[in-house]
Amino acid sequence: MGVIQAFKMAVKSIASNKVRTVLTMLGIIIGVAAVMVLVSLVQGYTSSMMEYYQRQGANRIEVYAYQWGGADISSDLYDYCLGLGDLVLGVTPNAQTGGVVKYGAKKLENANIFLGSDQYAVCNNYTIAKGRDMTYLDVKKYQKVCVLGAVAADDLFDFADPIGKQITIAGEPFTVVGVFEAKYPSTGGNEEQDWMSHYYDSIVVVPYTDARFMSNSYITFDSYVVKAASSAATTEAVTKLASFLSTKIDPNKGYYDVYSINQQIEAGNEETRMLSMILGGIAGIALLVGGIGIMNIMLVTVTERTREIGIRKALGARRRSIIIQFLIESGVISFVGGIIGILLGLLITLVLGKLMWDMTIFPSVSLSLGAAAFSIVLGIIFGIYPAAKASGLQPVDALRAE
């Protein structure tokens, strides 16, 4: 019997045993798709978290320092950081206030107004798209200048050039000297994206020393961002800043905290590792259950097939022909199941990624193929095992199977 004939026979057998075929495929499909989806979810979560940290910028140190009735430490901290030399790339207060921003008839009702140093952009991972950044002298000399976020600029100026224009912030006139590159380019996407775009790009940054002009709103300087030069420098700077702050803040009257994004990433990684292990475990169980399903259905049909094998042998089938037929049969079922499983896993992953993080997540190729290979091998082994066993019997014994 030729391979083509064996193939035809296998296809005929698959088509005429639809329930068995579907049940076997189902085991493989569920196993493969579950592994792909669960692992992809971890991936999606990780990359959405990493993306967040990347926008924040690496080696970012957040400093919180407050003391009842204490003096503003902003300029002390600024000078201390300058003294750290190469360790630190920049330092800025991270104070925020609200207020109406106006240009002619155009208004931003709830723009985020940040009061920062000339290093605000470096510390918060902004780059200048147009015009210039704030300078040391702007800060020192209480210059009424500002830099706009991309969304704020577009909203106020309708895509016209804002550089050199006068706007009013909380009633005070300021000159626009620069515009930042958008951090979250709006793609007209979902709510979360709109919010991010508003939060990070609908901003106005003014020298923190200008707080004196904005006496109508209450501004506290208790939060700072320090940008370190490297990951090693981050660790060192965190230690140094903490000991510096301990000399400045009386623990009975105030509070300070220094922590780096790197530490957060570390903690996030740990969380992701745990999540991977838990979901990976669940995926493994799904694969195992799928595998047991494949085994079950293959073994349940053994008796029925043993008799069939007896008939075939009585009619002159050689052992080899029977094993080849069953090998092709279970191979085709397993492969088709594996491919459907991969496609289903891919589809669910893409849909979930879009719904949960608005990201296009692709499942890991090696993992998908691994899960598919596992199911396919299992399907083939348990597909030919009964055939190999029954084809070794005397035909009369195989025929006796009820």
């Binding site: 019997m1 002159g316 050689r318």
Partner: protein
């Protein structure tokens, strides 16, 4: 040289144990080409065991079996498959059709294993189905046919590859007397056209169709009407 030559054949289950069963207890038998032989015995007499060994579906515990001169007990599994495929056509009491295949596909099976392909195979299968009067039922699967029709498909399958020997184990056992009669008519026709027919039955009236009747009891031949090739 006899077509079938069986010498001192034993089939013993659980040999040496208390539960030892001698299904065949020293059978000597020769059957010539072209004979129509009935092996008659009651249930448990060993007649089916004998047919299974003669049909190479089973192997004897002891003894020699020469089929057309070659010693079957020496043959490999694939050589035995070749004999079952080319030399022997089986008709079983329980039909033993493959339920998922149509009538014509069932009839084609031995031809498939013989390596006959394409239109030649279809032609032989159609010819065999026409011989049993089932050309109209080609595309039916076994469950869509009556017992008599299924048995005729099984006969068509047995004769499609034109084997020298037809072996039928209680071929009328599951059929009413009318359809049973039709099946016997087909076997007689096959005999007339030159086939060697071996019929296993417990029913003396069925055995009466044969030219030679061998009676078997407790695994031994107790009577043999002797050879007779003609009518």
């Amino acid at each position: 040289m006899a077509l079938i030559d069986v010498r001192k054949v034993y089939k013993i289950y659980n040999e040496g144990m208390e539960s030892e069963v001698r299904a065949l207890d020293g059978i000597d038998l020769t059957i010539e080409k072209g004979e129509f032989t009935a092996i008659v015995g009651s249930s448990g007499s060993g007649k089916s065991t004998l047919m299974n060994i003669l049909g190479c579906l089973d192997v004897p515990t002891y003894g020699e079996y020469y089929l057309a001169g070659s010693d079957v007990t020496e043959l490999s599994d694939s050589q035995l498959s070749r004999i079952r495929n080319r030399e022997i056509g089986f008709i079983f009491q329980g039909f033993n059709l493959i339920p998922s295949l149509t009538a014509i596909e069932n009839v084609e099976l031995p031809l498939v294993y013989r390596g006959v392909t394409g239109s030649k195979r279809r032609e032989l299968a159609e010819e065999a189905l026409a011989m049993v009067g089932l050309e109209e039922r080609e595309k039916h699967i076994p469950s869509q046919m009556s017992g008599g029709q299924q048995q005729r498909v099984a006969i068509a399958r047995a004769i499609a590859a034109k084997p020298d020997i037809i072996m039928a184990d209680e071929p009328t056992g599951n059929l009413d007397s009318k359809t049973g009669g039709q099946v016997m008519d087909i076997l007689r026709t096959l005999h007339h056209s030159g086939s060697t027919v071996l019929l296993i039955t417990h029913d003396d009236s069925i055995a009466a169709s044969a030219n030679r009747v061998i009676r078997i009891l407790d695994g031994r031949i107790v009577s043999d009407t002797g050879k007779g090739v003609g009518d």
